[in-house]
Symmetry: C2
Subunit: 343 residues, 2 copies
Amino acid sequence: MGKKTTIYDIAKRLNTTASTVSRALNNSPKISKKTKDLVLETANKMNYQQNKLALALKSGKSNNVGVIVPRIDSNFFASIIKGIEENLYAHGYRVIICQTQNNQNIEVEIINTLLKAQVDGILMSISSINLDTKNSFNRILQKQIPLIFFDRKANIKDVSSVTINDFEAGYMATKHLINQGCKKIAHLSGNILLDIFNNRFLGYKKALEEEGIEFNKAYVLKIRSTVKDGQNAAKQLLKLRNPPNGIFSSSDYAALGAIQEIKANGIKIPGDIKVVGFANEPFTKFMELSISTIDQSPVEMGKIAANVFLQQSNNSENTKIEKNVVLAPKLIIRKSSLKHPNE
Amino acid sequence: MGKKTTIYDIAKRLNTTASTVSRALNNSPKISKKTKDLVLETANKMNYQQNKLALALKSGKSNNVGVIVPRIDSNFFASIIKGIEENLYAHGYRVIICQTQNNQNIEVEIINTLLKAQVDGILMSISSINLDTKNSFNRILQKQIPLIFFDRKANIKDVSSVTINDFEAGYMATKHLINQGCKKIAHLSGNILLDIFNNRFLGYKKALEEEGIEFNKAYVLKIRSTVKDGQNAAKQLLKLRNPPNGIFSSSDYAALGAIQEIKANGIKIPGDIKVVGFANEPFTKFMELSISTIDQSPVEMGKIAANVFLQQSNNSENTKIEKNVVLAPKLIIRKSSLKHPNE
């Protein structure tokens, strides 16, 4: 390793003072967001690390932050983690990641594991809500360890969260399908106990209502976010006496499965059935029949979650600050849902 | 949570004895691999967890295992981790994951983090080899904590590893391109200091030699495993006076980028240029122009790495067992490299 980067090196590179750099790195309210972003970016590029030993002595902290996600094998969660790491690394924190595989027992166990490892904070996207997980969340709070939810949250007093407006996303996606001429729109949903899936469903329903389209229960299937479940759901929908001509899927993976199944039946996309997915996984763009989807700005979501954590852990008076950041979803229109000019 | 699953429940389900189940879970050599696999699978399905408190009292262990990978946002590493978790969870271990983002400073820091968190073992795929990382590996060994490499290994005495035969993989992929009629074959390589990339390159060279095809240095590009780098590499190759008609890429992401760039130039795949990638990322199968690739059996690789760890940590006499498992690669032929019958 070469000579360690100091705040003076960063200041020199940016033609500013060391005190500005130091303030920016410590997230001082006196420094503009633009400057903070620039300093952080430069610090990361130059491999800057705060002196962890000094920090630890000052604070008695481990400088490790735990991140819990349902699964790591989705670009969505991987990108959130990337955003979290970007904003925490320059502050001398290290990130340890655990996945629950959507299993509530593992979720409880993993929280114990991270508490035992003495993390300074837990940033998580929950897999389930029940008495056991709620008890675990409360144990984190009792230990005065900052807990921040992102994307999949539980509604707990004093706990901050960063989410996107899933209702709006469901509404936008469905409205778009209607604008492309679909009147029979199916919805592939998920575990409705989780806010994200319930809100997407409510947005879908709202768009139908607004357009005077009757809600059809047979068009709503609760499935897991997998290619396989998407295939099976499409099979079921195609068997209906009156199959849909539009599908809004709460998952890109399920959307992909549905598209594969529909095409395998010789039915055209977007000609006969139009499809919109959710999450903007990279493959949706790679496909020749690119898939319309909702972008959730996951890197940004991770960065904001990290910043909320930094604010809470810098708050020496330990005041409870609950901060709920809601990001706006973006509809990305691609081939799978686009009306042909002659249609 | 309902009643906890016991080894008696598992035995009942499998119509065997509790002692067989217990032996299988403790990886006893008296039990066949088939039985072990069946018991593990059933234990996972039934959410069985060994009594961790009892285990910890008996052993003084944390029951946490650290896994370090260059990046989590690739299906390859995510699948290895899945395999590791599958085999470790039923044994009462919890897995904490860290990514280095291919940054050697982060790699060193993260090893410290895991040691501080008192993990019982570290399973890792390395990002870099230099004095700092080597010192870190040695520190793990000095603390008598089992260290197991998977996929990307350093050659260190007494350290076990699970890899695939990358030389064979490079040879197979190149030979296949030659059999499909390619004589001008480019190779998108990676950091040649890492065995995996060097061995794939050597396999590529060997196949050319065997067929009497002259090695052309201009056809070998060392790039990162990203779509962007694949695009740039293709740009460079297409500018050559004598561009290649086959590309063997050490990365599916780079292969995808190359394919996008080649198609954007109106050049046909597989008609004009045939492409083979590496790692069997799911998108290679999803594409309408599906991408030929090498499958590395990542879930299996993870399971074996976990088993090697279990053997080492159960070895009470602390004998040093170095075990090097080398898996066979599988060539998966898809559209991107397949000769047209009339060609």
